[in-house]
Symmetry: C2
Subunit: 338 residues, 2 copies
């Protein structure tokens, strides 16, 4: 085994990941969508949702917890409302099955809601919203996950990490996009702190008795995370449960039961979108105005906008290919052919 | 002057506030809307937006900064999109001018966007969204205000306190509603800390050099507030600017110029709403499901839901009347008749 880094083209990485998905029971249509999503995360340096996730995808598929062959059912339930039953498959194929109709409705009415249920989301949210902004739309999406976050002041986990992502076009450059968990910290960062044996900042999590702790091992050993920003982040996390599960007809983060599926890792919940045509609101200068406010925050001293580093990484990958450690490359080859 | 507390009925308080508004140049239609809004805040114990604000309303009206006679122009710009030019008046009359049409559109299409511009919002947001939830709809609204919040890592104020409010029906009880600033702390709380000469918790604000401080006087003396929850709250604050100003065609929080209007206190910006028919998403059990997740967070140990205290205070006021200190009552009488 070598420790060198190889560089792989986006299309080649997509093909390799596709092979892994199809080999593990995913239909070819679904495999293509999932492979592009995962390769896009790796390309953008969004590594916690890149190829790092492939063993989890495979494990979940093998467990029978998620149906790789699922054919989503799209229902038109209003001039500005689409809903999808994902039939126990991944969210992204359900989303792609509805995406074109959603955009047609936004163009027609000015806004559209998309509610996806009975779906597994195991990736980042920015890949779902950024393409809407590329088309000139504003998009907001939320997804709940698996219970690992205690409510503010509470002792037992109810919420998932419950991310919220927002995308908006800007003039002359890539869209403004953020994608952030409503937990104070990512689970992966707690694991790293535990491995490196250093304490966390206060306010990140609680131990198994629901008491605040800075010890990452206490959080991992029966404890839970806290919402970001105290009671305000807590309200955001609860709103995400309401929109992603109550409104879509999906499961809450603490509700689904995967105990019969050893190896299952994917949260089985719902996802909610709002997509808006922003140019109906003002005087047609929307993208220009978003550029202005983004410039203002940078002039005020904010070091960078969310998504900036990602787009810089994407640009590098377009020139030099996507860097993969030889170890990770071998891991992928083993999953594809082993 | 006495220090006793008097109790006043809601209708009597509305009449008294109406008199103050009309006396200061507000049209009778607009005065009624503003008086009900302000009396409702006082009734619910939402005191920072109750009669405490009346001197600010009067001062802003006298300065010529806000037009009490403004007639809002409602434009239907799509099957699911309404926009309103408030013509330099308060937001609430502009909102009420469009509210019925927005609800018709939600019933027709499943969702509606409302974009209000050139408007002054000087109250809480929950009175705007809670009535939608009473009708069975989910509503989200955001408003920007005046620059007093530095971006995360920045040194000069760009954002307003930029609140976000969300309302959702629940089964058998008042709606789930939150209404929270995207700043770490309210300006009023900094003023109280300065008066009582105690330090703030870290992370609330910066001094005039943009350096973090726990000294409330340093924040008030040329400093600024910070967003709640670090870079994540910062993203929310920026999203609020984009939706409330860029999308509506209104001003950013740091953009309007009131220097020619001595006594002006009302932010001249825009307000954005999304109103959704939640029952199109799932199986018709939406309100029941929201009750379930609210019960779950309380069972997990969260001490209360946002809005609970407000509804308890409202119930008390319905029985005993709205408590006013004699001093505040005299202040109102002076504004109405003096």
């Amino acid at each position: 085994m070598t420790t060198d880094t190889i560089h792989i083209g986006y299309d080649d990485l997509v093909s390799l990941l596709e092979r892994i998905f199809t080999r593990n029971g995913v239909s070819s249509a679904n495999a293509r969508i999932l492979a592009e999503n995962c390769a896009g995360c790796e390309r953008d340096g969004s590594l916690s949702h890149g190829i790092f996730r492939m063993p989890g995808y495979v494990s979940s598929l093998k467990s029978g917890w998620v149906d790789g062959q699922a054919v989503p059912e799209v229902e038109d339930v209003g001039p500005a409302f689409v809903r999808v039953h994902a039939n126990g498959g991944f969210t992204q194929p359900a989303f792609f099955a509805a995406r074109k109709r959603v955009m047609e409705k936004v163009r027609e009415t000015g806004v559209c809601v998309l509610a996806i249920r009975r779906s597994h989301h195991f990736s980042a949210l920015w890949p779902d919203v950024e393409p809407f902004a590329d088309e000139g739309f504003v998009a907001l999406t939320v997804v709940n996950s698996m219970a690992c976050v205690v409510p503010h002041g509470g002792k037992t986990a109810v919420f998932g990490t419950n991310p919220i992502a927002f995308a908006s076009p800007r003039d002359g450059t890539f869209p403004f996009v953020f994608d952030q968990a409503s937990s104070a910290i990512a689970h992966g960062d707690v694991q790293i702190a535990a491995r490196e044996d250093h304490d966390l900042k206060p306010g990140m999590g609680v131990d198994s008795n629901g008491q605040p702790t800075t010890d990452p091992k206490a959080i991992l050993n029966g404890g839970a995370l806290l919402p970001f920003g105290g009671h305000k982040g807590n309200s955001i996390a609860l709103m995400v449960e309401i929109l992603s599960a109550a409104l879509t007809g999906g499961y809450f983060s603490g509700e689904f039961d995967w105990s019969g599926h050893k190896g299952a890792q994917t949260p089985y919940t719902g996802q909610f979108f709002i997509v808006i045509d922003p140019d109906r609101g003002g005087d047609g200068s929307f993208a220009h105005r978003v550029s202005q406010i983004c410039d203002l925050v940078l002039e005020a001293g904010q070091d960078r906008l969310p998504g900036e580093r990602r787009h810089a990484t994407r640009a590098k990958a377009a020139e030099a290919g996507i860097p993969l450690s030889a170890k990770n490359h071998e891991m992928l080859l083993a999953l594809a052919d082993g």
